[in-house]
């Protein structure tokens, strides 16, 4: 096969906004970019179960317990959809997990921050899922079919996540002085890491060029971040929370908020593995992966023994 012809046909498809499917020809760089991005996304969902899981046994009402469990269960499901999407590209889940454990594959930085109080569960739902959904909505139009379809399902399921987080924050802001203090403290700790979730400024984003050409990425980091800030500020104000950014002000010309600079040193420090919970999150994942090995082996052995599928 003429690879030049194939590559041109590939790009033509992309330019016509047609989806690329697993069996279609695709450049190796497109495939490896997708594997990196989708597996990172999947790992983020799965590692993200930990900080919220930290509060399941302490959720303050039966309703809150059910909501939190269902939400974390969704995150697990989303990890699973994404692993499946990546598997269509020829990488196995075993390999992806191995890459996570070896440090070759990353997950979202935000989950390297601890959940210290119940308000953090509110902040994660509202701010972290709120930031994630801005990104995920734009990814519903990403060029790789299985990824786009996973995103559609995920966005549909995620719609309650942000609302439940905001509901927790709103209830606490209507509550006792201690509760309000707790909520504001959570806001203070999660605001900046939430902004960092969109990644470096457009000028400093190393993988963006090809990702745009291939329509894997449809909107830039800064565009998405701005969108998140603009919709979140009013929500904060409505329930009496202060956004911890003294430089925040409305810019009538761009019809959006100007904000203070993100602490990029912290961003890089956490990426390099020195955030508050990096080691803890990874140790947890490795531990339970290893503790589950005998169960998986038993299931595989049983299948062999019964000689049927």
């Amino acid at each position: 096969m003429d690879s030049l012809v194939q590559t041109t046909a590939f790009q033509q498809k992309i330019d016509q906004d047609l989806n690329i499917e697993p069996k279609d020809h695709m450049p190796d760089a497109y495939r490896s970019h997708l594997i990196r991005q989708i597996s990172q996304h999947a790992h983020s969902e799965v590692i993200g179960m930990q900080p919220e899981g930290n509060w399941i046994t302490r959720a303050p009402s039966l309703r809150a317990k059910q909501i939190l469990l269902a939400k974390i269960q969704d995150e697990g499901g989303h990890g699973l959809y994404l692993y499946s999407a990546a598997e269509t590209l020829g990488i196995s889940r075993e390999e992806m997990i191995e890459q996570l454990h070896s440090g070759k594959a990353k997950y979202s930085n935000i989950f390297n921050y601890p959940t210290l109080t119940w308000a953090d569960i509110g902040a994660i739902g509202w701010l972290v899922d709120g930031a994630a959904i801005v990104n995920q909505v734009s990814l519903q139009r990403t060029s790789f079919g299985p990824y786009a379809r996973a995103m559609v399902r995920i966005c549909k399921e995620e719609s309650f996540h942000q609302r439940q987080g905001y509901e927790i924050m709103a209830n606490m802001m209507k509550g006792t002085a201690e509760q309000r203090e707790m909520a504001q403290d959570a806001m203070n700790r999660f605001w900046w890491p939430a902004l960092m979730m969109f990644g470096p400024h457009d000028g400093d984003s190393p993988h963006s060029g090809d990702a745009f050409l291939w329509k894997i990425k449809r909107k830039s980091n800064d565009e998405l971040r701005q969108k998140f800030i603009d919709k979140t500020i009013d929500q904060a104000t409505l329930i009496g929370l202060t956004v911890p950014d003294p430089e925040l002000k409305w810019n009538a010309e761009k019809e959006g908020y100007d904000h203070g600079e993100i602490d990029w040193d912290e961003f890089h420090r956490v990426i390099r593995g020195n955030g508050p919970c990096n080691k803890q999150r990874m140790a947890h994942h490795v531990k339970y992966h290893e503790e589950g090995a005998w169960v998986r082996e038993a299931a595989a052995a049983y299948k062999q023994r019964k000689n049927e599928f």
Binding site: S92, R296, Y302, K306
Partner: protein
């Protein structure tokens, strides 16, 4: 240490309403068919999405390739006589 297994890959087809088609919903990992069905139920019907589930090991699915799409599907382009609108009916004919 033995090589890790994440069990086998299965494809899941869900019928959303009684009488409808089963459509592809996604994949699950499982070692046997009971586990595949249960996993499909636990993962793809949490919001009442289903009335019936099919699962099949992914390895038993054969798919057509994009390269063959011209050969496979274009020949039906000009077979308009397979569609009822191809035929001219006398004016006033009813229930046909």
């Amino acid at each position: 240490m033995s090589i890790d297994t994440q069990l086998d890959l299965w494809e899941v087809f869900i019928q959303q309403k009684a009488g409808g088609n089963h459509t592809h919903a996604g994949s699950v990992h499982a070692s046997d068919k009971q586990m595949a069905l249960q996993n499909a139920r636990d993962i793809y019907t949490r919001r009442k999405e289903g009335t019936s589930i099919w699962v099949i090991p992914s390895q038993y699915i054969t798919a057509s390739t994009t390269e063959d799409a011209d050969m496979l599907f274009d020949p039906s382009d000009d077979k308009l006589y397979r569609h009822p609108t191809f035929y001219v009916m006398p004016e006033g004919a009813k229930q046909i």
